[in-house]
Amino acid sequence: MQSTILGINIVYFWTYFFVAGAIFIFMFMMGAVMSWSERKQSAQLQDRIGANRAAIPLPFGKKLALWGFINNLADAIKCLIKEDFRPQAYDKLMYNLAIFFAFIPAVLAVAVVPFAGVVKPAEFFQAWYLKWIPWLPEYFAANLPDFSFRVQVANLNVGLLFIFAIGGLNVFGSILAGWSSNNKFSMMGGLRAASQMISYEISMGMSLLGIIFIYQHIDLWGLVQAQSDLAWGWLPKWGIFLQPLAFFLFIAAAVAENKRMPFDLPEAESEIISGYFLEYSGFKMLLFMFAEFIEIVFVAIMLTTLFFGGFSVPWLMADGFHFPWGSYVPLSHASVVILQIISFQLKVFFFCWLLQQLRWSLPRFRYDQVMDLGWKILLPLSIVNLIITIIIVALGGF
């Protein structure tokens, strides 16, 4: 008899707790890594060295700089012990609420994303390199032989809609921050953020409708499963192959949603200093920045999940590789799951890298150019893409 907690088997409880915690920690660590790579990658591509001065002194005159990671630590400490400056006349409730509106949706939306396929613990721990673990293999084999779970926090059947709903909350963060700060620059930043995010959300949704029509799924688990199928026996049915135009439209709209470089009008450094979070200092400012970095990671996760097959590895089935030229490499269940996790992370890393590269390579658009691009180019193109997709799907093309 298993012990229960809140009416749930305690093993199930701890499993989901572990999965959710791992995904949560992954997002936060990626946020930290992004704030590091923001400095180091930009330095590398501009032929500089980047942050390397903050260091922990070691004996024998050595210094532990960890390639600039200590700089991040120093930044965090600095933000914690800084004066908590507030503007003189401000809307206290909204000013404090805005941080949560900016930060929580960024971390929350990842809940519906699958990080790897189905894991069967009883089978998982039978792999030769995991058998040494003390009592888990015997325990699962003896007590819960049929237990399986997905590496996903919540398998909502409204997946994409949930992401859009939560992502839409982000706009409240920027507009409330801009409005409540009682500062004209902040106000401008908030207004710019609101108009930009609302305009680009439309073309973002339009470009994803094609994906939904093709795969006939709106939950991300189903989308990833549909993308791991093969077309003509060799080509993975990834979104990038079936919806190439939508990929380019989505990446532009997502970067604009993210308020990153070519579209960073809301926080334009040279014009409105830092836009809607101008009046925030110390740890509050850090939370805004951190939310932005986590959003980059989330955009990378979305690109991976919707256009690059999520955790799926080409030609990897549940029992091993089935290559299109007929060869077959059997793999244990644990190897398949680990390969899926690695594949997902590699794709996410690549897109994080690409988004950073875009951010540091491109100059800022003018505001009318941003609006032109959103309404006159991306939106019509995404509608055209949608119409063509609908016609092909109606004719039975996919």
Binding site: Q44, Q357, S361
Partner: protein, 188 residues
């Protein structure tokens, strides 16, 4: 082609050449730009992975530019006599010529009968100094010189930047990195 706008008599507006479609939709141009930065990124990353220094910067206090001029005017030093006292005779010429008026000298009588005066206070406010080198040129007894570097010329407040006689006399030309130019070390 140019045209005039009604009501604005002497103003001509130039029609820019219409941009091509491929440039107008940005994607190709963005890909070209990102390709250039990507090349730089991976070149520097490869250098870094093979334990070479990526980038073209110089980590200043640890490294100096090989092409840094030996005539560079840096930190001030006071030249010593063999007995360790300053060569300065407190003639006030450097303080007079200093355009930033950052040198303060107070004279006192010297113990040496052959020398009339010596500085009781010799202060240079380095935060005011413009490193013009006039003091070095004005000095009749070669008592003040400038090093080639500005190493450690920093302070946590402005009073740390006022260099007094002890600090300025703390120069031993035997030490190798104190490159002095244009002059031999004092002979007497």
């Amino acid at each position: 082609m140019s045209y005039q706008i009604q009501g604005l008599p002497d103003m001509e507006y130039v029609d820019r050449k219409k941009r091509q479609f491929l440039i107008q939709i940005y994607y190709r141009e963005i890909a070209r730009g990102v390709w250039i930065t990507t090349k730089h990124f991976f070149r520097n990353l490869w250098k870094w992975l093979t334990f070479r220094k990526g980038g073209v910067v110089i980590l200043y206090p640890e490294e100096t530019r090989p092409d840094m001029s030996p005539n560079n005017r840096g930190r001030h030093v006071l030249v010593q006599r063999p007995n360790g006292s300053s060569r300065c005779v407190a003639c006030q010429m450097c303080a007079t010529i200093c355009p930033a008026q950052c040198i303060t000298i107070q004279a006192e009588e010297s113990e040496d009968p052959l020398i009339q005066k010596r500085p009781r206070v010799f202060e240079i406010d380095v935060s005011r100094c413009i490193f013009c080198g006039f003091c070095v040129e004005a000095c009749p007894v070669d008592a003040i010189r400038m090093l080639a570097t500005t190493e450690n010329l920093v302070g946590y407040n402005r009073f740390n930047m006022i260099y007094d006689k002890e600090k300025l006399l703390n120069w031993h030309p035997i030490v190798e990195q104190d490159v002095v130019h244009g002059h031999e070390p004092p002979a007497d």
